[in-house]
Every structure is written in C-alpha cells, then in structure tokens.
C-alpha cells in the first residue's frame, strides 16, 4: 500500500523540475516540453486524489487536461515551426522582437 | 522448497510462460520469413530458398547466424545512444504487445504448483487499449532510427513513417470502435466470447465480420474489418504501404544505416507486429478461437479436422521426402512426415487432447490466413506514393471508419430500445 503523500511528493518534485527546466532551458521545444512535464505532475496529483477518495472526478479532469495538452501541442508546435522558419533559431533569446 | 515455489507460483509460471512465448514467437518469426520467401517465390514462379536443408527449411537458421556474425557497422556521426536504442525499442514494444493476447480460453487441463495455467501472459480488462497504447509507442523505434542514423534517406524514412503511423493509428482505432460498441468491453477474451452465440449455432455467423447472433442483431462489420486491416498493413509498414523503407526511393528508409543484429531486430519487430495484427484481426472480427462450424451433433466430425489434416499432410511430406534429391532430405523429411502422421493418429485416439487443441488450432489457422494475406499483397501490389498514402488514410479510411462507428452506434441503440 502506497501512502497518498508519496504520490503528492513525487508530483511536487516533478512539477518543480518542470519549473526549473522552464526557467533554465533555452530551446523553445524543450521549454514547451517542460510545460508538458508540469501538466503531467498535476495529473498525477489528480489521479492520486481520485483514487484516494474513491471518486472518478479526478480522472475526468485528467482527461480534460490531456485534451488541452494535445490542443496546446498542436498550436504550440505550429508556432515553433513558424519561429524556426522566420528566425532560423530555436533559441528563446532570439525571439526578442518585443524586447526593448 | 516446494512451499517457496508454491508461494511464488504465479510469478514463476508467468516468467516461464514469457520465456516460452518468446521462444515460440521468435521461431515462428524465423519460419515466417521462410514462408514469405517461399510463398512470394512461388507467386513469382521461382523456387525461393532451397539450398540450406530440405526445401530450405534451415534457411532461417542460416540467416540468423549470418545476422549474428556479420560486422556491426556504426556509421560516423550517428547519435550513438539513440542509434542503439531505436532497434531495442522496436523489438521490445512489438514483443510486449503479444503479452495481452489470449491464445485459448481454457487453462491447461492440469495444475502446476497448484495454479491453473492459462494460455496468455496477462488478460487485463482493457487489453485492447493496452495493445493500442503499445502500438502508439512503436512509432518511436522507427522515427528515432531514422533520425539517429545521420543519413538523409533514413531521415526521410523516419519522417514518413512517423507521419504515416500517426495517421493510420486514427483509422485503426476508429475502425474497431464498431466492434467495441457491439461487445461493450475492452477485454479481448470477452470480445471473443460474445461472438460465440451465433444464429442457429452456425459458428461463423456469429463472428463480428458477419455478426448474426441469437439476439437477432445483424450488423456485419465488414467495412470496419476492411478499414482495420488496411490500416493495420500501413501500421506495420508492409507492402503496399511500405513507404518508410521503400527501397526504390529511399534505399531502405529508416534502416538504411543499420546492419547485422540491429537490422535483425527491426526485422523481427516487423514480423512480430504482423503476427500481433493478425491475432487482433482474428480476435476482433473472426471469432478468435471459435470454430467456424456449428456445435450440433451433426457437425461433431469437424472436431477431428485439426487432427485429421495432419494425417494427409504427413503422408504427403513422407512422399515428398522419399523423392527428395539430397540424402539429408530423404532422411529428415519422412521422419517429420511420420511424426505428423503419428501425432494426427494419436490425437484422434485421445479425444480429451483433441478437444483441448480445438481453440488453439482454429486460432492459429485464422492467424495464418492473415499472414498469408500479407505475403500475397506483397507479391502482387505496387507501392503507393507518399501523398496518395496519406490521402487514403485521411480522406478514405478515417471518414469511412467514423461513418461505420456512427451507423453501428445507431444499430446498437436500436437494439437496446427493442
């Protein structure tokens, strides 16, 4: 039997690592992936609570999160392709048109 | 000692089953290559392998040895980790998929270590979903191989295959939803068992491809099956959808830069995927292990078909072996033939065993038909062009299979209101 806290701690660690990756990585694709990692961490917490309370609502939310993640991936990767096409680089530093 | 064994009986039996299944599948794979080469050769009016062993029966062993001993070339500039990972991934995933396939309904007639032994590794309630999950992952092997090889042909093969497999996965999944709606379960075993209650007890009428059951529901899933099998051929990258490795355009596509055993891994993965898909087609549409005949006393003689087929076949092998050119063939073929003959006779004499092998026989027979279909298509059809392939997937198979889902849903609802 696995205590609920274990899952939650794991979820927190994954979320934290996602946040670290989001801050430190320079490549847009990797940054995007770290967002997916954070979403996954949240999903884990959802499922853990769902199983702990014996209710399926948490899992339904997970499904919604996955759907949103899929939509986000489609649009986001489209944007990334555009960035690569226009800037010749995937480095986030180079996307600085709005920077003063 | 015994107590220890009994305590962990489940794990021990499972591990032994996995080892056995691996052994059987790899052997079958090897002989599937032999069968394919022979069948295609006869389609093309030539002999195929016939040098190593009688009728080339030892050719797979020779091929295997060759793959093992060939120089393993790693091209310059590859991404080593991914380059080595890709064939492993391919092979591992395609072998894993077999774990959820049930091969027969009944456990072995005797207990081992106090446990029933079923002819499957695991039989989860969401078997089909797990299969699709594994299929979904199997694109990585090919895509990564193409990327890591540092070759333009490989890269194009990898890109093609990832696009192709994602596209056809949709059609593949949608085409079985009709069956799922009718069966109302994800469990492969339950799907088979639901096909058992055929109209008038005539076995094959109950199969989902015809779906004429006692309840009066009559909605053949022929369209679903055609969509399923077409997408499955594309999903396994076989002719006429073998675009990722189209040898006339991309040399060998994603495995251009692979040699020796790493190439063999892709090869085994492809053939294992063929077997998995054939199993799935059999289970979903052709009643799995169910016999096509009625189970009334009049049709009881069909119970002897599995054993009786062995007898003439054994006799033919003896005859063929006696007039074979080489001494080895003259000795070994009649021995095999006699063994078949004897097993056939023994099976008739032992009704209990005969009953037990029924489901296994029908299951393998149906799988074999699909495997032959694969080979047949390869020997007959030209290859589609890449854009045409995508058009077939998105503009033909996907809408048709979605329409099939909608119509099936309507039929299922109509039944529930009656």
């Amino acid at each position: 039997m696995v205590p609920t806290q274990y899952y939650l701690v794991l979820s927190a660690i994954l979320f934290g690592l996602g946040a670290v990756a989001f801050v430190f990585k320079r490549n847009i694709i990797t940054i995007f992936m770290s967002i997916e990692l954070m979403l996954n961490a949240v999903n884990l917490a959802f499922v853990a609570f769902s199983q702990a309370f014996g209710k399926v609502e948490g899992q339904v939310f997970v499904l919604f999160v996955i759907v949103v993640a899929a939509a986000e991936a489609a649009v986001g990767l489209g944007i990334i392709i555009l960035i690569q096409r226009n800037r010749q680089s995937l480095n986030i530093e180079k996307v600085n048109l709005l920077k003063l | 000692m015994i107590a220890f064994l009994q305590q962990y009986a489940f794990w021990i039996i499972t591990i032994v089953k996995i080892a056995l299944l691996l052994f059987i599948v790899l052997t079958v794979n090897a002989y599937l290559t032999w069968f394919e080469r022979k069948a295609v050769a006869h389609i093309q009016s030539r002999w195929g392998p016939h040098r190593v062993g009688p009728h080339g029966l030892l050719q797979p062993a020779a091929d295997g040895l060759k793959f093992l001993f060939k120089e393993d070339v790693t091209p310059a500039g590859v991404d080593r980790f991914v380059y080595y990972l890709a064939p492993f991934l391919s092979l591992m995933l395609s072998l894993t998929a077999l774990a959820v396939i049930p091969f027969a309904p009944n456990p072995l007639p005797f207990k081992i270590l106090g446990e029933h032994v079923y002819l499957w590794i695991t039989n989860p309630d969401i078997g089909l979903l797990i299969l699709f999950a594994i299929t979904a992952l199997s694109v990585y092997g090919i895509a990564l191989a193409g990327w890591a090889s540092n070759s333009k042909y490989s890269l194009m093969g990898g890109l093609r295959s990832s696009a192709q497999m994602i596209s056809y996965e949709l059609a593949l999944t949608m085409s079985v939803v009709g069956v799922l709606l009718m069966a109302n379960t994800f469990s492969l075993q339950s799907i088979i068992e639901q096909q058992a209650n055929a109209k008038w007890g005539v076995g094959f009428l109950g199969w989902n491809i015809i779906a004429w059951t006692h309840q009066g529901l009559f909605f053949p899933q022929i369209i679903g099956f055609i969509c399923f099998f077409t997408s499955a051929i594309a999903e396994t990258n076989r002719a006429p959808f073998d675009l990722p490795e189209a040898e006339s355009e991309l040399v060998a596509g994603f495995h251009t830069e692979y040699s020796s055993f790493k190439f063999a891994m892709f090869f085994i993965a492809e053939y294992t995927a063929m077997i998995t898909v054939s199993c799935l087609a059999t289970i979903l549409f052709f009643g799995g292990w169910l016999s096509p005949f009625a189970s009334t006393p009049f049709w009881h003689f069909t119970y002897y078909i599995p054993s009786i087929t062995l007898i003439p076949f054994g006799l033919w092998v003896i005859y063929d072996g006696l007039k074979y050119e080489t001494i080895f063939g003259k000795l070994i073929l009649p021995a095999i033939g006699f063994a078949m003959f004897a097993i056939g006779g023994a099976l008739i004499a032992l009704p209990a065993v005969n009953d037990y092998i029924q489901p296994i026989f029908w299951f393998t027979a149906k799988i074999f038909v699909f495997l032959f279909f694969y080979v047949w298509a390869r020997g007959t059809l030209p290859r589609l062009r890449y854009d045409q392939l995508m058009n077939v997937g998105w503009k033909l198979l996907l809408p048709v299979s979605i329409a099939n889902v909608i119509v099936t849903a309507g039929v299922v609802i109509a039944r529930s209101y009656r």
Partner: protein, 399 residues
Amino acid sequence: MTTSVETATGVKKTMVLNMGPQHPSTHGVLRILLELDGETVLKAVPDVGYLHTGIEKSCEDKTYSQATTLTDRMDYLNPLGNNLVYALAVEKLLGLEVPKRAQYIRVMMVELQRISSHLVWLGTHAIDLGAMSVFLYCFREREEILKLFELFAGQRMMTSYIRIGGVALEPPAGWRDRVGKFLGMMPSRIDEYEALLTENRIWMARTKGVGVIKLEDAIAYSMTGPTLRAAGLAYDNRKVFPYSSYEEFDFSVPTRTDSDCFARYMLRIAEMRESLKIVKQAMEKISDSGPIKSEAAGIIPPQREKMKTEMEALIYHFKIFTEGFSPAPGEAYVTIESPRGELGCFIASDGSAKPLRCHFRSPSFINLQALPMIVEGQIIADVVACIGTIDIVLGDVDR
C-alpha cells in the same frame, strides 16, 4: 555546381539529396542531385559518366570489323541493335548490298531484342514502383529470348551476331520451332503483365498524370522513341526512314497522346505486340537457304570451304584479319529505331583501315537530358517513375 536555391533572406530551406550513383532505382550508375523541399523536387541535376568506357576512342584504334564487338557493350540491353546500326553505317560507307535473307534475319533478331529490352524495362520499372512479381515474370520471358540468342549466336548477351555485310552464322537447325514456340507463348504472357498492372488502381495512381512531357518539349529536347510517340507523334525510323527492308513488313506504329508514365507503359506494351508481328513475318520471309553475307572480296571474309581450296580466298582472309579493309574517304550517318529511340551511328573515314571518327547517337543520353524538365515540381517517388519510363541504359548514356 550550384545546387541550392537560397531565398532572398539568405535562408536555406531545402535539402540536397544525392540520389545515386549507387541507388536501387537509377538503373545503373546514374547520379542525380535533387534539391528537395520536403518531398517535392525543386531542382534536379543529372550527373552521368560513371560508366564511361571511351568506346568511341577505342573504335578509332580498331579495324572496322574489330570494332563490331565494342558496339555490343554500349547499350547492353540492345547489343544487336548496336551491331546493326554500326554494320549499316559501314555498309553505307562501302556501298555494300546485303542479301535479303540476311536482312530478314537481322530484322527478326533486332525485333526479338526489342522485346527483350522492353521486358527488362517493364520489369525494372514495375519493381521501382513496388510491383515485385512483374519483374520476375519479365525476366522469365527475357530468359527465353536470351536462350534464342544463344541458339543463334552462341552467346546470350554480347552476341556480335550482326556483322558487316550480313550476319555471323547460318541459323541453327530447328530454329523455326524454337522461335515459333516463343511466339506462341509470348502474347499470353504479355496479357499476364497487363492483368497485373494495367487496371491496377495503385499502378494507375502511380503513373497516370505523372511525368507529362509536352510534344513540343519532347521535340525540342530531341527526344525520340517511345517517349516521343507517347506524346503523340508517330516518328519511327522503321517507317520514316526504312532500313534493312523494314518497308516490306506490315506493322503499325502505336502512339498515345497523354504522354505520361502510363501512356509510355501502354505504348511499350503495344510495341511488344507489334514486334511479335514483325518477328512472325520475318520468320515467314526467311528462306531455308541462301547467302547470309554479301559477296565482296577483300571486305567480307570468304567462306571456310573456299579458303581450303582457293589460294585467293586464303589471301583475302589473311588480309582482312591482319590489316582490315579501307573504305573510301567520306562520312556516313545511319539511324535506326532502337528500343529506346533513334540510335544513330556516324562514321568518318579517311581512307585508312581504321575509322577516323566513330560516333554513336545514343537515345538514352539524349532522352535523359530532359529529365530535369520532367521531374522538377514532382515528388521524389515520381522521380523514380520518370527515370523508369524514359528508359535509360547507363551503358548507352556513358558509352
């Protein structure tokens, strides 16, 4: 060599793919530099010469009869046609008449060669598009033709059967049965290929509307043979400038108008059937006895029997094989219809025993230069189909 198109911003969006010289579907050692945008071909640059053997230079150092064997090696799918065009050119230079019987034998052999060449074409083209079985069927029948060549000439491919002034050997005993058997078998075999391909949906999808060549482009690029006829112009040297008594044969020149890969496929199938007709007529025309070489002292080697009895014959034999013969100074240019198009041979003589210049107009070489025009804008799988239907033989391209 500029192969990459850089856009105005200096941004490279394309990939250069080196197709060949070792590639399964370039039919030999052809190299094509393809500039790709995704799968679309933006630019194609063929690079030939990997099989260049300097046959034209070698001819200048051989006597006229010795050079015959070199011609076999040019277009290795059409050695008899190469022999024929060379022999016709030298005969024109010498003003030599060839006996009718030899002419008919030449026609029969060349037409058999055409069928075998088209079979190789069909097989390789089919396997390029993934139809593996057709390839092996075609080679099965080609094998029969090669056996016939072996029967006639003792050689399967490099026969050197057609010599200056006639043919090398008397037709062997029983040749009528063998050729007749082949003629009886072949039509049903062609039906077999058609059953596998012609109405196959995938085959049509792969070939229809692919690689269209407009008629005026085809003429401007000097394309000849099936490629030109598939564009709608019935230009066939056998009809327009008959040689070797082709005017006595009854056959038609099939044409198509759609000029795509499918049209060229259908056209070559039709040509095979026409060739069968010609072979049949030639068989009937060839008498059982008669000369197979023209009589020309000092040019055509005398018969073996005469050599043993006549001093003069022995001297001629010695002279022909040591110093050769010397045609009058002048030039001759002869074209015939090879399976790939107009095959020409230009020989310039300066009055010595060796040609001053011997040049072959090889149809593959000239047809191939239109490839960039055909494939640009198509996708990479179509490049394979287009190379296939232009029907190049790299031995012919590079010589």
